[in-house]
């Protein structure tokens, strides 16, 4: 069974277009198609000049994020039958657009790097733990300790949360939901010893307190990461870290004069 639908797709060629424009495509869609199936069909059979990112087709790679009728969606996961006869497809909101439905990713990558998303001072932390709680073995972690951060490690970097966030839209310095959630994931990992450094980044140049708890990031997240929870937990931790820092002197973080 098929349904005829019209797709209003944003097109932008930096060599030819001053500003993005829209182009309409009317195609017969199978009833079990996802939005990505329709876009792939348009590229394969109708207009090969259209550019878009996609890969796994099963909501684990995070490549195919686009705006569908104004909302950020993973197009491989979004069924067409929940939409009407006309569907608007745009590149992810709040990102500069490279071409058509492809957005510039380097800004996102830069924010990720800022939160130092790796286990820091692992050896020192392991030695500390071995001395106090664990008889032997490094990197031992209980299930309860894992559950404190596991949810935040499930992010597939699809960036839908950045498109949904009103603060990302208005404040370029804001780290954004996924980057803060990732930093918080490491802060809550008992194997990590980098909380002081990350909390300072969160408090200062990362402006974690800019988050206004709109909760839109968690509403659009396709993997149930709940970045809003991570960001607001991170604020709490950053305040405690700041208050503790007023009372207890710390060695200067790397990068301080």
């Amino acid at each position: 069974m098929t349904t005829r639908r019209k797709f209003v797709v944003t097109r932008f060629d930096p060599d030819k277009d001053e500003v993005p424009k829209t182009q309409e495509y009317e195609i017969e869609c199978q009833d079990d198609w996802k939005v990505l199936d329709a876009i792939n069909f348009i590229k394969d059979e109708v207009d090969s000049t259209i550019s878009h990112r996609w890969s796994c087709r099963m909501a684990v790679c995070g490549s195919c994020g686009m705006m569908v009728d104004g909302e950020p969606k993973l197009t491989c996961k979004t069924a067409l039958d929940s939409y009407g006869d006309t569907v608007e497809i745009e590149p992810l909101a709040n990102f500069p657009v490279v071409k058509d439905l492809v957005v510039e990713l380097e800004g996102f990558m830069g924010k990720f790097q800022q939160v130092k998303p790796w286990i820091m001072n692992a050896k020192e932390e392991a030695e500390k733990k071995a001395a106090s709680t664990m008889k032997e073995g490094t990197y031992r972690q209980s299930t309860e300790e894992l559950m404190a951060f596991k949810q935040f490690s499930m992010c597939i970097n699809c960036m839908l949360c950045y498109s949904a966030c009103p603060v990302v839209s208005n404040e370029p310095d804001f780290l954004g939901p996924a980057a803060i959630a990732l930093g918080h994931r490491y802060n809550m990992d008992t194997r990590d010893g980098g909380q002081d450094e990350r909390n300072q980044i969160f408090r200062e140049e990362g402006t974690v307190f800019s988050c206004s708890y709109a909760n839109e990031c968690s509403e659009v997240c396709p993997k149930g990461v709940d970045p809003a929870a991570a960001v607001n937990q991170a604020k709490f931790n950053a305040v405690i870290d700041w208050a503790t820092g007023l009372v207890v002197s710390r060695p200067a973080a790397k990068g301080d004069e």
Binding site: V167, N170, E171, R203, E205, T207, F209, K235, A238
Partner: protein, 121 residues
Amino acid sequence: MSQEHRLLKFEPLIWFLFGQGIMIGSILMTSWLLVVGILHPLGIVHPDALGYERALMLASNPIGSVIVFSILALPLWKGAHHVRHFFIDRGYAEYDGTIGALSYLVATLGSLLALVAVIRL
């Protein structure tokens, strides 16, 4: 240091006050707004309940004055924070240093006024 970075140093404190302004301030404000602002002026609550002598007694004793001060001052911080974000959301992020400083100045001055208002009872 830029204005923005000076403000950033205070962000944890501002956010904490804002959070308390929302929670404690709102919880305490509920009965204030209900009785002082609605039920008493409408005569649903007896006029003497918040007549001059009783109101003065309630607001000027040690516990009452702390509660009244909290009702007056804490919501200012929630208000200032949201007013600042109101302008950021409308595209004035460039002026956040100034707008933010002004908003929190209003909250600070209001808190001082509230303190004086309570002390002079």
